[in-house]
């Protein structure tokens, strides 16, 4: 310990870390309350729904669907897909009996899930469930881990104050209310033209839509909101709901294909074993719907909460505040991916078990 402390390199790193921590504490919103705040910017705009990355819809007024807009979560999801596809291509380009590093790593991951599938569902059904389980895991973990990369949530399109106020009024009109511009928060940006940045030390430079409207046309600051190009794919409830639906549809498809349509559906509409079993069957059917919802919100909630946590920490203590939480998010992202995949596997396994074989 003594030798470690006397090493100049260690001392230098320690001093730099200490300086960063002090600067972060004093320069962020935490320090801003005591007159500091020379680094921070106003807290980022947080909303549940994914933001479209362009001002106008790509395809407008599709019958029955409405407008199609590319959102930042879609971009993130597609990035994850591209990354996975490229890794797969690189890993399987030159397949060898004695694998190289990438092939070995991919094989190791696949081995874990193949073993899990075969243990839970038996060798034959395990092989059948494996591709979906594996894909869910890979997609969710890739999307979650990419979601905490720098640039996610911080680089994006500048949505001007006029646009923001317009959206707010549009929404209020649809709900039949009057737009409450006092609740529309706007951040003040620097720069002009294409480039707009939130400057250092702008922690308190936040105005409301109402204030903006009251200002003179010429004296208005460059206010608006940042719409990130990338936002962690699983913070969009459409994504998690889509995954949950695919998983549960496949589970029931396998149930039908293994047990037969009548046996499988008969589990939920059981008219042969008396009213109690009918009630139990209906409850089981209800629990299948609950599973979709729990799938959806477990993943969405965990990842969205992580995102908010990172935003808040970056706001309160910039520079260093998010460091421990990045590690936490890596862990949460992995665990959630694992849970989603394993639950899919277990549901699939239980849906394809013959109830008669339980030994009455």
């Amino acid at each position: 310990m003594g030798r470690l402390l006397s090493s100049p390199k260690v001392l230098l790193i320690g001093a730099a870390a200490l300086a960063l921590i002090i600067a972060g504490l004093a320069g962020g919103a935490l320090g801003g309350a005591f007159g500091g705040g020379f680094i921070g910017a106003p807290i980022a705009h947080i909303q549940l729904a994914a933001e479209p990355i362009t001002a106008s819809p790509q395809i407008a007024d599709i019958p029955f669907f409405g407008d199609f807009r590319i959102t930042n979560t879609m971009v993130a999801a597609w990035s994850a897909i591209v990354v996975l596809a490229v890794i797969s291509w690189l890993g399987t380009r030159r397949l060898k009996e004695v694998p190289g590093r990438l092939q070995g790593a991919l094989e190791a991951v696949m081995e874990v899930f193949l073993n899990a599938c075969e243990t839970v569902a038996g060798p034959e059904r395990g092989r059948r469930f494996f591709p979906l389980v594996m894909t869910i895991f890979l997609f969710v973990v890739a999307a979650n881990w990419m979601g905490i990369l720098p640039g996610f949530g911080t680089i994006g399109r500048f949505e001007s104050a006029e646009e923001v106020i317009h959206h707010a009024e549009e929404k209020a009109e649809k709900d039949g209310e009057h737009a409450d511009l006092d609740n529309v928060k706007l951040a003040v940006f620097d720069g002009d033209g294409f480039l707009a940045v939130q400057p250092f030390g702008s922690v308190n430079e936040e105005i409301t839509g109402a204030e903006y409207e009251e200002m003179e046309e010429g004296a208005r600051p460059r206010a608006g909101l940042l719409v990130p190009f990338f936002r962690s794919a699983n913070t969009d409830i459409n994504m998690t709901l889509g995954l949950a639906l695919v998983a549960m549809v496949m589970v029931h498809y396998w149930g039908v294909s293994v047990l037969g349509l009548f046996t499988h559906v008969g589990k939920y509409f059981n008219f042969r074993e008396g009213p109690i079993m009918l009630f139990v069957g209906l409850l089981e059917g209800l629990s299948e719907i609950a599973r979709v919802i729990s799938f959806t919100f477990r993943l969405f909630g965990n990842i969205f909460a992580g995102e908010v946590l990172l935003i808040v920490m970056a706001f309160l203590v910039p520079l260093v505040g998010i460091v421990p939480f990045l590690g936490l998010e890596l862990f949460v992202g992995l665990v959630q991916a694992f849970i989603f995949a394993m639950l899919t596997l277990v549901f699939a396994a239980t849906a394809t078990i013959h109830h008669d074989s339980e030994g009455h």
């Binding site: 994914a50 599709i62 797969s88 399987t92 694998p99 696949m110 969009d236 459409n238």
Partner: protein, 167 residues
């Protein structure tokens, strides 16, 4: 639903994207990699089985060899014993033969000695008779009938213990 951000285009996009990923990974990752892994495990299984049979084969041949070595050793032992027996018998025979020969030689030598002795006595007797006659002639001073005297001396000699007995 609106506040949560659930909308049909977003949901459909998510499902389509995921399905696309599923297909990409199925053809790019799972199929080739599972193939290789299955092939490898089959190969490993096969070589393990081959090793097992080779081991059994080696075991068997070793046992066989040991059996053969044991048999050869027993055979050698038997041969040595037989040879020893033969040698023993040969020695006995040779010994007996040699003893017989020695015996025969000794008998022959004894016979020779006896014969020599008899001849020597005979010669001595002859000479002694001549000497006695010559001595007698001197004493008597006249020639004696040699034939009768020689007979007389022979008789005396026969009766005497020293040169008598031609046995």
């Amino acid at each position: 639903m609106e506040a949560l951000g659930i909308n049909l285009p977003g949901l459909v996009t998510a499902i389509v994207s995921f399905t696309a990923l599923y297909l990409i990974l199925h053809f790019l990752l799972y199929k080739p990699l599972l193939n290789v892994m299955d092939q490898r495990s089959a190969k490993i299984k096969e070589s393990l089985e081959t090793a097992q049979t080779a081991r059994e084969e080696a075991q068997r041949s070793r046992e066989e060899m040991e059996k053969q070595v044991g048999a050869a050793r027993a055979e050698g032992q038997a041969m040595i014993a037989q040879a020893r027996e033969v040698a023993e018998r040969f020695r006995e025979e040779e010994l007996a033969k040699a003893r017989q020969e020695i015996e025969a030689q000794r008998a022959r030598a004894a016979a020779d000695i006896r014969r020599e002795k008899a001849a020597a006595i005979e010669e001595l007797r002859g000479q002694f008779a001549g000497l006695a006659i010559t001595a007698a002639e001197r004493v008597v001073g006249e020639s004696v009938d040699e034939a009768s005297h020689r007979r007389l001396i022979e008789e005396v000699l026969d009766e005497s213990a020293i040169l008598g007995g031609r046995s």
